[in-house]
Symmetry: C2
Subunit: 210 residues, 2 copies
Amino acid sequence: MSPKQQRGEATVDLLLTTALRVYAESGQQGFTVNAIVAASGVSLGSLYHHFGSFDGLAAALYIRCMDQLCDDMVASLTRCRTARTGIRTWVASYLRFTRENRDIALFLHASAYSGYLVAHAEEIGAAKAAKFAAITDWLRVRVERGEIAALPAPVIEVLVMGPVTEVARRWLSSTYEIDLAEVTRLLPDLIWRSLRPDQDGAEPRSRTTA
Amino acid sequence: MSPKQQRGEATVDLLLTTALRVYAESGQQGFTVNAIVAASGVSLGSLYHHFGSFDGLAAALYIRCMDQLCDDMVASLTRCRTARTGIRTWVASYLRFTRENRDIALFLHASAYSGYLVAHAEEIGAAKAAKFAAITDWLRVRVERGEIAALPAPVIEVLVMGPVTEVARRWLSSTYEIDLAEVTRLLPDLIWRSLRPDQDGAEPRSRTTA
DNA sequence: ATTCAACTAGAGGAAGATTCTAGAAACAGG
DNA sequence: CCTGTTTCTAGAATCTTCCTCTAGTTGAAT
């Protein structure tokens, strides 16, 4: 299972990094084996030796990018105790990650429907679920404490991730003009509004009880 | 400018309709000129006579689908007077459209980054902006009346469209399991919460003034 | 009858994913 | 240090797929 030589690991890394750069520079059109091979200097044989197919490389890259994003989000989220700061931090960290890792964000958004990961859909789904488990747990605890409105987990996820991914999409597409700084200032609070346990004047239970 | 024969219009329509069906059945992979030609019975030359290129057909299909969606949303929205019902109806209508027109929604979501519309990006952008103008106007009026929080237009759009498109994405991908009926029941109110002018007990101005 | 849009059929050719064979580099045991 | 084995690299050749173009036909309108 584990490689007996570590020279391959470096080429794998080089290939993935180059692939991401190629995608960022040339878009979906130019995202091809030849381009990646040419840009990386690695041979075609090496590529197929390590990934088996082009889709294999794309799937590996997708998983690698998603892991980075998820690790970043989970780290930000789990550092927070209260629901309010947690949600706000979650939102802010996604936007920050997008700004600081444009290439990764672009690839993630574009690949969602891109077809080259249909073959590895199960694998990717599993990886994503594993990473999201930490987030779901964090949310469940706060919902049980009454710090977040009693909603199904998917609805909460959608209310947070929805606006944020939409902003990212627009910022990445560069046809819209989005003031990312302003949005980062406004969104966390606005999203939190839709998740507060109740809005009719009652104080959050964390103050009155426990 | 106007066609001297109207037989072409029928062919164009047949091609677009078939293309959508092919996409729904075969996905990105099977979305090719040959497949469309075979499924429609129209000849390859005809296709090129009308659309000039494969990308041309894809762009035309994209615009047609987007028009349908936008017209539906605009019709639902402009029928509403108050901000609250408007926003809630907007959300509900998008979800209803997605449920009732799965193929269209799928194509729209998947094509966003798909690369075959890069060539016609300007054209598409213009068409989209034109359709969205009605929505933006509707929003501006309500913001000026104080019925909606004083936020930049993009932020409002993102808060509404974000969660809704995210739900659609999940429902379409079929790896997530989304209870669309339940979401349709919950989301409109939740989204409205993030847009209400203020949440600290003050009544909406429409009641106290004017 | 002429004209022009609409259409048909099929060839051409480019591009890209994959396979294959050959060889270099690391590793293990003697 | 030598040798067999596995991992890895190399790049040409292949095979498939798909977009585009050309040349010619049909048929409605004037």
